[in-house]
Amino acid sequence: MRASLRLTVDWVSCDGQGLCAELLPEAITLDEWGYPVVDSRPLSRTLEPMARRAVAACPKLALILEQTRPVG
């Protein structure tokens, strides 16, 4: 089975700059204080390039793209 992709936020580092939501509105929206709300479902493979761009754009290096291998 293929590994699935998941975006997570390092909340210690994140200070709500908001570039991630500009680049990946498909999976990230901002709450009323400007902090990201990340879609908790695994990310579609077609979004992977844009997700990598969003990760690279985060000024605080707080957005993380994880590969998770489903158990079993």
């Binding site: 580092s13 700059q17 908001g18 570039l19 500009e22 680049l23 400007g34 754009a57 000024p59 605080k60 290096l61």
Partner: protein
């Protein structure tokens, strides 16, 4: 032929002209890089029509274009054999044969720029804090580049070139001014210290420029080899 060489005909000075042109244009691009970088830290810059990732992407890409032009600037300066710029002079900030101190300022600027660029490419390994501390060195690199341009630039005294350089300084000072006033009241002490530092630095560089590169006889005082003087001042 003995003594001073006569200046080469224009069509044989291509490399030298390229050096000068690429130097000035890369200063403009690196100035733009500075302004974009300084402004991209601010939350108030983004809008629906000009999202913040645009600032950031331009900052990264314009810096790389500027560095590529710097490769042209340096490559042609080394390749041109009228004034002697050796490979060692590209990175070592002392001991050059042509206006050594001010050529050295350019080498130091390059060293710092390379440090800033390489650490940015390795930002994920480095972590945000260390990366950011090192990234502040860009201010020093840019300032050294301006001083290098005034000190070695054969065109620095031309009125339009002076206007371009003054414009570059104005753009960066303006961006810093915006940065220091944006979100006022937080870190007030740092902001005032920053503003005082910028004013002091601009004053010192302007006074030096007036007494040095813009005053008569700079070509000789800055250490231009005799055979190149005719050309460098022309």
């Amino acid at each position: 032929m003995t003594g001073a060489k006569t200046p080469l005909p224009v069509d044989m000075q291509t490399l030298w002209f390229l050096t000068r042109a690429a130097g000035l244009v890369s200063l403009v691009l690196l100035t733009l890089t500075m302004a974009l970088g300084i402004c991209s830290t601010s939350r108030s810059v983004g809008s629906r029509r000009w999202p913040r990732f645009l600032n950031q992407g331009l900052h990264r890409n314009v810096s790389l274009i500027g560095l590529s032009l710097l490769v042209v600037h340096i490559g042609t300066a080394v390749a041109d054999d009228y004034v002697s710029v050796r490979l060692r002079d590209v990175v070592l900030p002392a001991g050059g044969l042509y206006r050594p101190v001010w050529l050295g300022a350019g080498a130091a600027a390059l060293d710092v720029m390379l440090l800033v660029t390489l650490t940015s490419l390795a930002r994920f390994r480095l972590g945000h804090r260390s990366w950011r501390m090192i990234h502040y060195a860009a201010y020093a690199a840019w300032t050294l580049a301006v001083v290098h341009g005034l000190g070695t630039g054969s065109d620095a005294k031309l009125s339009w070139a002076l206007a371009v350089q003054a414009g570059c300084v104005g753009v960066v000072v303006g961006a810093v001014g915006f940065r220091l006033t944006d979100g006022w009241r937080k870190h007030t002490g740092w902001r005032i210290a920053g503003a005082a530092g910028v004013l002091a630095l601009v004053t010192v560089v302007a006074m030096w420029a007036e007494q040095g590169p813009l005053a008569p006889g700079w070509s000789h005082r800055s250490g231009t080899p005799a055979h190149a003087s005719a050309k460098a001042s022309g």
